[in-house]
C-alpha cells in the first residue's frame, strides 16, 4: 500500500523548502537532520525502515502516521535512546549515530517523551532547573561550594520562572511534579526541554491530554520557538494542530516515510489516506473528500465510530476534543 506513488495527485512538484522534487525522502534546501537507511527491527517487525529523511532547519515539521507507524521508535533512534540495526544520521553536520543520548541532547537535539517523564518527587521548579545546561554546580566538587554556582542558579531560576509563567505553571512552582495533571506534566516536560535552548526540539505528542484552551497558547509558544530560530519536529495526531502550525509534514506508515509535503497538500496524498484508512481500503475516497476538508480527520472519526469503547474511555478520562484513538496509545519501548 505504501508503494503508491504520491505523484498521483496534484501535489506541487517543487517547494521552497525542498531541493528538487517534493516526495517521500526528498532533499531539503537547508536540512538540520539528515538520516540515511535507518532501520530498527523488533523480532520479525521492522518498526523503522527509513531510506532517507531530511528535516528542514528553522521550521516546524510534523511527523504523523497511524499508531505503530514507527514515529516514537524513530525519535528514540535519532536521540540515542535506542540503537538501530542499520543507519547513519547527522545533526547540524555532525554524525550522531551511536552517540549516547546525553551527548545528543548536549549537541542541541532535545526530545520529550510520549509517556511523560516528569520527575515526580522533585518540585516543578527543580524539574525546570534540571533542564539548564552547563551548570557549574553539577560538578561533584564545585557543587560543595555554593558561591561557585549561586549566581548561575539565580539566572537559571529566573529563566525557569519565565518559562513556567508562559506555560501557565507558575502557580505550581513549588509543588511536586507528581501532583500535576497529565496535561500539566506534558507542559512541564516541554518547558523543561526548552531550558537548554535546543537547536532542535522533538516533541512526541505534546498535546495529548492538554486542555483545548491551553492548546491554543501552546501553539503560540511553538510558533514563537520557530521565530527564535529553533527547529521543531513534533508527533501529533490532532490534524487541526498539524494543519495550523506546521510548515512541513512527514507521514510515516509501517516504518517507512510514505509521503511528505506542505500541510495543505499532503493530506490529499493517496498514500496518506491509504496509510490511515488501512482496512477501509475500499472506501470511496472521493466521498471522504467531499465530506469534509480533511480526509484524515474523517478517517479518525470513522475509526472512532467503529470503536465506541475507545470514545467512552476518552470521555471518562476527560480528554479534550478532538482526540484520536491514537493519542491514547501506550508507547511501547
Amino acid at each position: 500500500m505504501s508503494n503508491l506513488p504520491s505523484s498521483q495527485t496534484a501535489v506541487p512538484q517543487t517547494h521552497p523548502l525542498v531541493k528538487g522534487e517534493v516526495g517521500p525522502g526528498c532533499a531539503k534546501t537547508d536540512p538540520i537532520v539528515i538520516a540515511d537507511s535507518v532501520t530498527r527491527q523488533f523480532g520479525g517487525l521492522k518498526a523503522v525502515d527509513v531510506a532517507h529523511l531530511e528535516i528542514p532547519r528553522g521550521k516546524i515539521t510534523a511527523l504523523i502516521g497511524p499508531n505503530g507507524a514507527g514515529k516514537t521508535t524513530m525519535f528514540n533512534l535519532l536521540t540515542g535512546f535506542d540503537k538501530p540495526n542499520t543507519g547513519t544520521w547527522e545533526f547540524d553536520g555532525k554524525s550522531l549515530a551511536g552517540v549516547p543520548a546525553f551527548k545528543v541532547a548536549r549537541a542541541g537535539m532535545v526530545r520529550t517523551f510520549q509517556l511523560t517523564k516528569s520527575l515526580g518527587r522533585l518540585s516543578v521548579l527543580q524539574n525546570m532547573l534540571l533542564g539548564a545546561t552547563g551548570q557549574r554546580g553539577e560538578g561533584l566538587f564545585s557543587s560543595l561550594v555554593k558561591p561557585l554556582w549561586r549566581k548561575q542558579e539565580e539566572e537559571n531560576t529566573a529563566r525557569a520562572d519565565d518559562l513556567l509563567a508562559r506555560f501557565k505553571l507558575d502557580a505550581k512552582r513549588e509543588d511536586y511534579a507528581a501532583s500535576l495533571s497529565g496535561g500539566q506534566r506534558k507542559l512541564l516536560e516541554m518547558a523543561r526541554a526548552l531550558m537548554s535552548n535546543p537547536e532542535l526540539i522533538m516533541l512526541d505528542e505534546p498535546m495529548a491530554g492538554v486542555n483545548p484552551a491551553l492548546t491554543q497558547s501552546l501553539l503560540g509558544h511553538i510558533k514563537n520557538l520557530k521565530d527564535d530560530g529553533t527547529s521543531v519536529l513534533f508527533v501529533e495526531h490532532d490534524m487541526h494542530m498539524v494543519m495550523h502550525i506546521s510548515d512541513w509534514v512527514i507521514v510515516m506508515a509501517e516504518g517507512r516515510v510514505v509521503a511528505e509535503g506542505p500541510p495543505e497538500t499532503v493530506m490529499k496524498d493517496p498514500a496518506v489516506i491509504d496509510a490511515y484508512l488501512g482496512a477501509h481500503h475500499d472506501e470511496d475516497l472521493g466521498d471522504l473528500m467531499e465530506d469534509g476538508p480533511n480526509p484524515v480527520l474523517e478517517a479518525e472519526r470513522k475509526a472512532r465510530e467503529a470503536h465506541p469503547e475507545i470514545e467512552a474511555e476518552h470521555e471518562a478520562a476527560g480528554y479534550a476534543e478532538p482526540v484520536t484513538p491514537a493519542s491514547r496509545e501506550e508507547e511501547q519501548r
Partner: protein, 325 residues
C-alpha cells in the same frame, strides 16, 4: 531485674561507636538508595573492605593515614567493580550483583588460603595501636552515669561521631546543590535526566563511590572497639543498615543518625529485658541464646510494620511517598 543497668546500657548505645558506624553506613546507603535510587544490597561488603583494608596494613606496620587511605581506595575500586558492569543496566542488576559480591568478598576473607593476611575465620585483632597512639586524651576514666568510659573508648566515640557529622554535612551540601538535583532526578527517571544532557552513568558511579566510601569508613569505626570478625559481615548486616535507613527516612540528613540510635537502643532494651526476665525466672520457656535471636525477629517485624505504616520513615516527607511514582 536490674532496671537501672538495663536502661543504662540502652542509653549508652546512643553514643556507642557501633551506633556511629551503623549511622555512617546508613548515610552512605542513603546516598545510594535514598537520593540516587541505587539498589545496593551489599553495603556490608563496603564495611568489610574498610575493616580489612584498614586492619591489614596497620598490622603490617603502616601508619594510620596509610591504613585509612587504603580503606578508602579499596572501597573506591570495589565500587567501580560493582558499577562498571551494572550501572548501564536496569536498577535490579545492581541489586543482584551487590548482594552476590558481598557474599563473595566475605568468603574470600574467610578462606584458609589467606590466613596470613585475613586470619581466615578467626579474623584480625591487635590493630588498635596506631589509633590509640594519636589519642590526645590523657589516660583515665571520664564521664558520668552510663556515659563513663576510659580514654580509648572516648576517643573512638569522638572520632566516630565526628565522622558521622562530617558525612552528614557532606550529604547536606551535595544534596542541596545542582549535583544533588541530578542524582534525585536519576532516582525518579533516569531517561528523563539523560534527555536533558546529563551523563547519568557517571553520576550513578559518583554516588556509588561516595556511599561506598562512607560504608568503608563505617567499617573502620566499627572495628575500632572490637576485633575484625568475618562473621559480622553477612547479609544480615546489610539489612540492619537498610532498616536503620528506612527507619529514619531514606532521603534525609538526620534519618540515618536517629535511625541508628533507635535501632541500637531498642535492641539493647529488648536484650536487657528478655535476659533479665529469663534470669529472674519470669520467662522459663526460652534460653538466653533464643532470646538473642528473638530480638532480631523483632527487628524483622519492626521493619515490616515500618514499611507498611510509615514508609517515609521518621524524618521523611509523607507527601513524597503519597504519590505512586
Amino acid at each position: 531485674m536490674d532496671w537501672g543497668n538495663i536502661f543504662g546500657n540502652a542509653v549508652g548505645e546512643i553514643i556507642s561507636p557501633t551506633t556511629a558506624a551503623y549511622a555512617l553506613a546508613a548515610i552512605g546507603l542513603g546516598v545510594h538508595f535514598g537520593y540516587t535510587g541505587l539498589l545496593n544490597f551489599g553495603q556490608a561488603a563496603f564495611l568489610l573492605i574498610g575493616a580489612y583494608a584498614f586492619a591489614i596494613p596497620t598490622l603490617a606496620g603502616a601508619p594510620i593515614i596509610v591504613a585509612v587511605l587504603s580503606a578508602i581506595i579499596c572501597s573506591v575500586i570495589f565500587a567501580f567493580i560493582l558499577g562498571i558492569p551494572t550501572l548501564r543496566l536496569r536498577a535490579d542488576y545492581l541489586a543482584i550483583v551487590t548482594i552476590a559480591s558481598a557474599e563473595v568478598v566475605r568468603y574470600i576473607v574467610t578462606t584458609t588460603g589467606l590466613t596470613d593476611f585475613t586470619g581466615a575465620a578467626n579474623g584480625l585483632s591487635g590493630f588498635k595501636g596506631t589509633f590509640a597512639a594519636i589519642n590526645p586524651i590523657p589516660q583515665g576514666t571520664y564521664g558520668f552515669g552510663p556515659f563513663t568510659y576510659n580514654e580509648y573508648d572516648w576517643w573512638v566515640r569522638i572520632v566516630g561521631w565526628a565522622l558521622v557529622i562530617l558525612a552528614s554535612v557532606l550529604v547536606f551540601l551535595l544534596m542541596r546543590s545542582p549535583w544533588g538535583r541530578v542524582v534525585k532526578g536519576i532516582r525518579e527517571d533516569e531517561d528523563a535526566v539523560r534527555s536533558l544532557g546529563k551523563n547519568v552513568y557517571s553520576y550513578k558511579m559518583q554516588a556509588l563511590v561516595i556511599g561506598g566510601v562512607m560504608g568503608s569508613v563505617a567499617g573502620i569505626v566499627f572495628i575500632l572497639p572490637r576485633a575484625v570478625q568475618p562473621a559480622n559481615y553477612t547479609t544480615g548486616l546489610t539489612f540492619f543498615i537498610w532498616t536503620i535507613m528506612l527507619l529514619g527516612g531514606a532521603a534525609t540528613i538526620f534519618g540515618p543518625i536517629v535511625g541508628s540510635m533507635i535501632f541500637w537502643v531498642v535492641l539493647s532494651l529488648t536484650q536487657g529485658i528478655l535476659y533479665g526476665a529469663i534470669e529472674s525466672g519470669a520467662l522459663t520457656f526460652i534460653s538466653t541464646t533464643q532470646a538473642g535471636q528473638i530480638r532480631f525477629i523483632l527487628v524483622g517485624v519492626a521493619l515490616m510494620l515500618l514499611v507498611i505504616f510509615r514508609p517515609q520513615g521518621i524524618f521523611g516527607n509523607k507527601k513524597e511517598l503519597s504519590f505512586s511514582v
